[in-house]
């Protein structure tokens, strides 16, 4: 701690904060409007009936329904309770914080001048791959072993409630909001004209609440990151020893991602700043963090059984680390192919 200085901490803290805050706001406002304006049944209405295509599609839903990892857990909990297959819900839950336009934009911006296209596409690809693999595995696991008893009871109670939920009563229970009721039910969702503006207020409030929720974890993450960046100077040699090793460096940054719990909309800025680490480690930081961190561990307990959650965490750690280290080999391949391409195109020494 000999290098700790309040002024440098403040300097780093503010720089990280003003860099990430606009993206936090953007993400939470989008989330707020989705929360109010989008009926939850939309998911099921447009999903394929067969599970494999449904899982594959759910991995991409974040592109049109962008939510960060903080917001997605309550959403999928509700969707599972309404009958969305667990495999689809988990695939969306893991992929959406990475495969969404806001995260893509922030990753692109953070790695500007650091092979932004390559890093961004790789992050999307690896995040999607892991999410889909988890979805496929869950297709083979009995739902009783995955989700909590209380949630399971809601799922089991769903079928009777579907049949009994006639449109005559028009009570908006959570089950009634489901798409199982078909298009004819949509009229009840249309607000009166004078209420439209109030829905905007509700959306803004929901976004504001999300903003505060996320800003808490973001602020803690930024504090820890600022500290880490200060202490890094004292432990430069030790960290460099870890950083240069793809296995140790990757494991270290995955643990860091778990502890920091930074929002997926802005974690790329932190990853880009970890200069001495190789790209496998940074990629693992950006893929693992949105899938599992301290705050998610608590949120996941509202959905998953304890034993399953333990296995789920181990699986994610090993799978993300393994895929990212393997991807680093592709990084080398990428560089080699680039140099070969330069040689083939007349040495490529063409000036500025």
């Amino acid at each position: 701690m000999e290098s700790f200085s309040q002024s440098t901490f403040a300097y780093f803290f503010l720089s990280l904060l003003i860099e990430g805050a606009p993206f936090i706001l953007l993400g939470t406002m989008v989330s707020g409007f989705i929360d109010i304006y989008m009926p939850s049944g939309v998911f099921e209405r447009f999903l394929p009936k067969r599970k494999v295509p449904a899982v594959l599609l759910c991995g991409l839903l974040g592109l049109v329904l962008p939510v960060c990892e903080c917001a997605v857990v309550p959403v999928i909990r509700r969707l599972v309770a309404k009958g969305l297959p667990v495999s689809c819900a988990f695939t969306y839950m893991l992929a959406a914080p990475i495969v969404n336009p806001i995260t893509i934009l922030s990753t692109w911006s953070a790695f500007n001048e650091q092979q932004a296209l390559y890093i961004t596409l790789s992050r999307i690809g690896i995040g999607y791959l892991i999410a889909v693999v988890v979805g496929f595995v869950l297709m083979l696991v009995p739902v009783e072993k995955v989700i909590r008893k209380s949630l399971l009871e809601k799922v089991k109670a769903l079928k009777p409630s579907e049949s009994s939920c006639s449109h005559a009563h028009h009570e908006h229970t959570s089950e009634c909001c489901s798409s199982h009721h078909g298009e004819e039910h949509s009229h009840v969702h249309a607000p009166k004209p004078e209420e439209s503006s109030h829905r905007v207020v509700a959306a803004m409030r929901s976004g504001m609440k999300d903003f505060v929720d996320v800003a808490v974890y973001f602020t803690i993450g930024v504090c820890l990151t600022a500290m880490f960046n200060i202490l890094q100077v004292d432990y430069h040699d030790s960290i460099s020893a870890y950083a240069s090793d793809p296995f140790k460096g990757t494991a270290l940054l995955m643990v860091l991602a778990f502890v920091l719990s930074v929002c997926s909309t802005s974690d790329a800025f932190l990853a880009a700043s970890l200069g001495s680490f190789n790209y496998a480690s940074k990629m693992a930081f950006m893929v693992f963090g949105p899938m599992l961190d301290v705050k998610l561990l608590f949120l996941y307990q509202t959905v998953m059984r304890g034993k399953f959650l333990f296995v789920f965490c181990i699986f994610l750690f090993v799978a993300v680390g393994g895929v990212c280290i393997a991807w680093a080999e592709w990084d080398a391949l990428f560089l080699w192919s680039q140099s070969l391409s330069n040689q083939l195109s007349g040495n490529g020494k063409g000036g500025l």
Partner: protein
């Protein structure tokens, strides 16, 4: 009543963040915090935070209905955390930092950071240097009155990470501007000092010192540590432990004023 208080407090929290971002956007210190391509997002974020905060503050009494019905099972304003605790976590570090920041690294941190060696090859992505030949160098770079090519220190540093650039640059004479300090590493004869510039990729937290050794034929010049200097000399490269480091043999050196804020971290 408590919901009203919560709405007002949350609105003020967002307004505070918006105010901080707008303050930094118009501040001369912004260049010390963010790389130029991130600065516009501070303006947009600051304006957006202010609008959202004001909108919610003005409408804090408005009753709303999400139209999902009363049994939706979700509360759009409920939070996992106590609002006061949440606001304390959000605002305390922010206010502390606004009070304590000096808009730069402290001297100890700067001294330690600038003493670190970096491998130019491992940081190749940071500088997208084009392929150079002596002809393209001649055509695209300005020359000082005595024929030295003017080049940023970062470019000279990263040239050590590319064997082709190393071949082209070796023996050529360049002029560059940077801060000067003692050379803590790779200085067996004691006739070297270190040029360095602080470089920001995204924000100050990722700031790195980009170093280059400068070698003198006679006595070392006497300057205050971290003085900005303009140096002209001949480029060479040394290979130690599988890493290529750039070294400039100094022909001339003079102190210069510090660059303006916009050019300090490039």
């Amino acid at each position: 009543m408590w919901k009203y208080v919560q709405r007002v407090l949350f609105s003020c929290c967002i307004l505070t963040w918006g105010g901080v971002m707008l303050y930094f956007y118009q501040s001369v210190h912004l260049d010390a915090y963010l790389a130029p391509n991130f600065q516009i997002t501070v303006l947009i974020g600051g304006l957006a935070c202010s609008i959202v905060g004001l909108f919610n503050l003005i409408n804090f009494r408005v009753h709303t209905d999400c139209h999902h019905g009363g049994d939706c099972g979700h509360d759009h304003e409920g939070s996992d955390l106590n609002p006061i605790v949440a606001l304390t976590i959000i605002l305390f570090p922010l206010i502390f930092s606004l009070v304590k920041t000096e808009h730069k690294l402290d001297d100890t941190h700067l001294a330690k950071k600038s003493a670190q060696d970096l491998d130019p090859a491992s940081m190749r992505f940071l500088a997208d240097l084009p392929p150079f030949t002596k002809e393209t160098l001649e055509a695209t770079r300005q020359k000082a009155a005595d024929g030295f090519y003017e080049m940023n220190l970062l470019e000279l540093f990263y040239s050590a990470g590319d064997s082709e650039l190393e071949r082209v640059f070796t023996g050529l004479q360049f002029e560059t501007e940077a801060m000067l300090r003692s050379e803590p590493n790779r200085n067996p004869k004691g006739n070297r000092m270190r040029l360095y510039r602080m470089f920001i990729t995204c924000c100050a937290a990722d700031m790195k010192a980009i170093p280059m050794s400068v070698e003198f034929e006679g006595d070392l010049p006497i300057f205050e540590p971290n003085t900005w200097v303009k140096v002209g000399g001949e480029m060479r490269y040394e290979h130690i432990g599988g890493v290529t480091y750039p070294v400039m043999l100094v022909k001339r050196i003079e102190p210069i004023p510090s660059p303006n804020a916009g050019n300090l971290y490039k």
